[in-house]
Subunit: 356 residues, 2 copies
DNA sequence: CTGAAAGCGCTTACAG
DNA sequence: CTGAAAGCGCTTACAG
């Protein structure tokens, strides 16, 4: 093996020479839909194969002004929901012949360096799935004329597209479920208070409880973070007047809360405490947890995201589109069951209260 | 908000005109180390700011023949170990001023389309963290003169660089630990049998057991997959002659095995069955599992990976380098403790047998 | 330190 | 259908 510098790379001109045709002919051979005779194409293909030619996507991008790269901004991947999203995004984008440039592992504070790089690589579109820098970054990108989709979040000004689920209805559904289960004292462990998902989930929960006459909510902040959720759980659940029903703003935190409740505080779930989470992510399904959780239809969310992006890229029209999908309350073992309303659909148990 | 096509983008020539200098001067201003007077630089910077100029990385790549893009191939992200790796890779690569192009969500079979795209984008380096297509893909890339690092795996022919931990010693350590714990019947749930990690872990385990006089190992295949691991556990643990000590080839499977053992089969851990895993990944630390596990030093592994890549890119020398790091057996609650050898280091309990 | 010029590897009117 | 030519937005010898 001779160690080598990065090999020069075969160019279309070299292939052209070998095939005895013009460089344009080579280019056309590799451009779907371009006008080229079968005979010429065959000659080019043969030469290309011999030389191991592959069109240089960088050069192509420069001239077409399309990088065929979608940037995905996802600050942290600890919550398994996001790796799942990433995997599905990878799957769908490759089908559309797009590449995925990932921005992760940075502090959620500094949006400027990220933005700079997005711009430098002239990405064709952006998926923003990072909680806190959404607003600033999305406005900048939108202003630059690049399609942006906020994934699982929205901003106040709805000038930028988003894909979400009905978080408010979800929160309300959780309230109905817990009320139907006969609980008396209600708690909430919040996600990042500035995030739209948390705001909406809490608002719906509050509304739902209020309609049933429950106006007091025992409240702690978990910031969508494991350690903070544990601390919140310790604080809330070690008091004598702890709740008997607890809505945790996502499953990632709910797992931590359950561990604290059971193993540190010796509470039985759901006998002493009912817990409901959000997302229906992997660990929620593990039998150690069996979290009753509002699901978010991940595949359909990713599909909608890619569709919006592709539409905007091909039309050149950047008109904000908001896709709002429905979730379901998947019933498992972490919360007491209500007398009615739990139905079996496709082998899963769902809470569907009779319409009032 | 006027919906617009992707805005044309400001070019260096426009900035030059605005600043009253040559296009070369603009280029030099944005090339670290280029010869440019403070005065000219200031004029350029002012004009650039006014116009919102950012160098076009695509054009730069074309001429420098460096894309500053590292491809990361990671077929699936279900095992949290990999998202953790991804996050750390993102962190370190951005520090080196490299971007991360992610290939994920594809079937592990088809390596050709992936390879094609790697080549088309002229990536400067590749991190291969996908189990099954490692060998073919890595050889092709190496042949093309692109630095490749196999992450957490090796191939027979060691022409391509790799970063691993001492899996064999790890397997042996697990054996020593379980033997020291006084267990009598030993089981193994394997990962992908064709993978180097699995082969080495099993070989070490077998050796370690054999040295203590235990030559029989109850064996099932889990293929590093949750569902398959569950099935393997059901089969192995429902028999009357089930093991009392079980080494599961990674934590991702160990979690599933523990759930089956406890909740389906009613076994107590570690009273009825000791379980040891590998990786020391997130869920291993959750109190519901508390898995005793061989750790892999993720941060140092990623650091080594990036170092190898950067070295090879800057030197132009692609000489295979194999970095092999040490892990530790982190002791938690999923396995019976031996009488001696467990020590406390930095607040963690580690198994360090006295040297024989 | 500076500018004019060549050239990276393509796509795409344009003329035939 | 085909080829010659222009040009995408940069970097980098080269000459001054």
């Amino acid at each position: 093996m001779d160690s080598g510098v990065k090999k020069p790379g075969v160019t279309s001109s070299q292939v052209a020479r070998r095939a005895g045709v013009s460089q344009s002919a080579v280019s056309r051979t590799f451009t779907p839909g371009a006008s080229i005779s079968p005979k010429t194409r065959a000659k080019v293909m043969a030469a290309a194969k011999e030389l191991g030619y592959r069109p240089n996507a960088i050069a192509r991008s420069l001239i077409t002004n399309r990088s065929r790269i979608i940037a995905v901004v996802m600050a942290y991947l600890e919550n398994l929901f996001y790796p799942d999203v990433l995997e599905e995004l990878g799957r769908l984008l490759v089908k559309e012949n797009y590449r995925l440039l990932l921005f992760t592992g940075f502090m959620d504070r500094d949006s400027d360096p990220v933005f700079d790089q997005l711009m430098q690589y002239r990405v064709d579109g952006i998926v923003l799935a990072s909680t806190s820098l959404s607003s600033e970054l999305s406005e900048e990108c939108a202003a630059a004329g690049i399609p942006v989709v906020l994934f699982n979040r929205t901003t106040e000004r709805d000038a930028v597209s988003s894909v979400t689920t009905r978080n408010r209805e979800g929160g309300r559904r959780v309230a109905e479920f817990l009320v139907a289960g006969g609980h008396k004292r209600f708690g909430y462990i919040s996600g990042l208070e500035s995030s739209s998902t948390n705001r909406d989930r809490f608002a719906g929960y509050k509304e739902g409880l209020a309609e049933a006459g429950h106006t007091e909510i025992i409240y702690e902040v978990g910031n969508y973070d494991r350690a903070e959720a544990e601390a919140a759980a310790r604080k809330m659940l070690s008091k004598p007047d702890r709740p008997d029903a607890l809505f945790v703003a996502n499953d990632h935190m709910a797992v931590a809360v359950m561990d604290v409740a059971r193993h540190e505080l010796g509470l039985s779930i759901p006998e002493d405490l009912s817990i409901v989470g959000y997302d229906d992510v992997g660990p929620a399904r593990w039998t150690s947890y069996g979290i009753t959780s509002m699901s978010q239809p991940l595949k359909r969310m990713v599909e909608a995201t890619v569709n919006i992006l592709m539409d905007q890229i091909s039309s050149g029209e950047i008109e904000a589109e908001h896709r709002i999908l429905n979730g379901e309350l998947v019933v498992r073992t972490s919360a007491r069951l209500p007398k009615s309303g739990v139905v079996e659909v496709d082998g899963r148990r769902i809470f569907k209260p009779a319409k009032g």
